[in-house]
Subunit: 169 residues, 2 copies
């Protein structure tokens, strides 16, 4: 077992799915004759991040998870996006970053300490970081983005969330 | 590495968190003087499952994931819950089921074929089942439940979703 399989291909698929959600969002806005950019500012509660920030947070968790588990310095992405095209560019940037990893980068990484500034000097074993921190955060922000779009009438279903399932041959 | 760590303790924590969300939901309803049961019927879109079904679906994914990966027959839970107390009992039942597993149950399980009726005769390797099917579904339903509660004013934050993080000693 190598944790590459649990991270890079999964995150690549999930972030690629978001690009398809944006296609459907733009189509929905055009059909209803409203500016698709409006969706980026929608949120489910006043003290919750809007769609745009949910998507860029998901991008960050995919980036943090792979870089920290593999013991690399994550690139800085300064959250300057304002438009759907810029959000798509951010997705593309992170997808290109994910593509730089190989299974060798994750060899024996399970016990590597992973940390963030908000952990205040503490750290988590890479295996626990994946299971208890990065994956829950990634799915949390992805599902919240999905929920915001569903709440606003975009025609998405569970398959759009899961993407292709790697069935056995 | 053993996939017990990626499943049983994580799911146990996440489903225990949901019980705390229900505490906060009941407190919110009492403060606002409405029947807390009303929350169980709330949904973010008319063609989306309500809170009650999101929680029982999360219960099912925790159950399916552990049983199928460990090569055991999952118990049947017939979705008859209607009240918050019954939803709490369902959580308790699944938490008790999770407690029956040991790391030995997951030894060498990575390539075990996992399937559901909806896969129409196909199956997925247990490792892929965890990463591409069960975990995304579990977090999808948990986050949707959380989002429904946030949308309805319940005082929840990200820490209530993640629960305790297993920092290194």
């Amino acid at each position: 077992m190598n944790l590459y399989a649990a991270t890079v291909p999964v995150f690549t698929k999930l972030l690629t799915n978001v690009d398809h959600w944006l296609d459907k969002s733009v189509a929905h806005a055009q059909a209803k004759k409203f500016d698709p950019q409006v969706l980026l500012g929608m949120r489910l509660a006043p003290d919750q991040w809007p769609l745009l920030r949910q998507i860029t947070a998901a991008c960050d968790w995919a980036k943090f998870c792979t870089s920290k588990m593999a013991g690399k310095e994550p690139p800085v992405h300064p959250d300057t996006e304002k438009t759907i095209d810029e959000v798509r560019a951010r997705l593309k940037t992170v997808l290109a970053y994910l593509a730089t990893f190989t299974p060798d980068d994750f060899l024996g990484c399970e016990d590597r300490p992973c940390t963030h500034a908000w952990m205040q000097g503490k750290s988590v074993r890479a295996g626990d970081y994946l299971d208890h921190v990065a994956l829950p955060n990634l799915h949390f922000h992805l599902t919240t983005a999905y929920a915001i779009l569903r709440h606003n009438g975009v025609d998405l279903g569970k398959d759009d969330y899961l993407g292709e399932i790697p069935f056995r041959p």
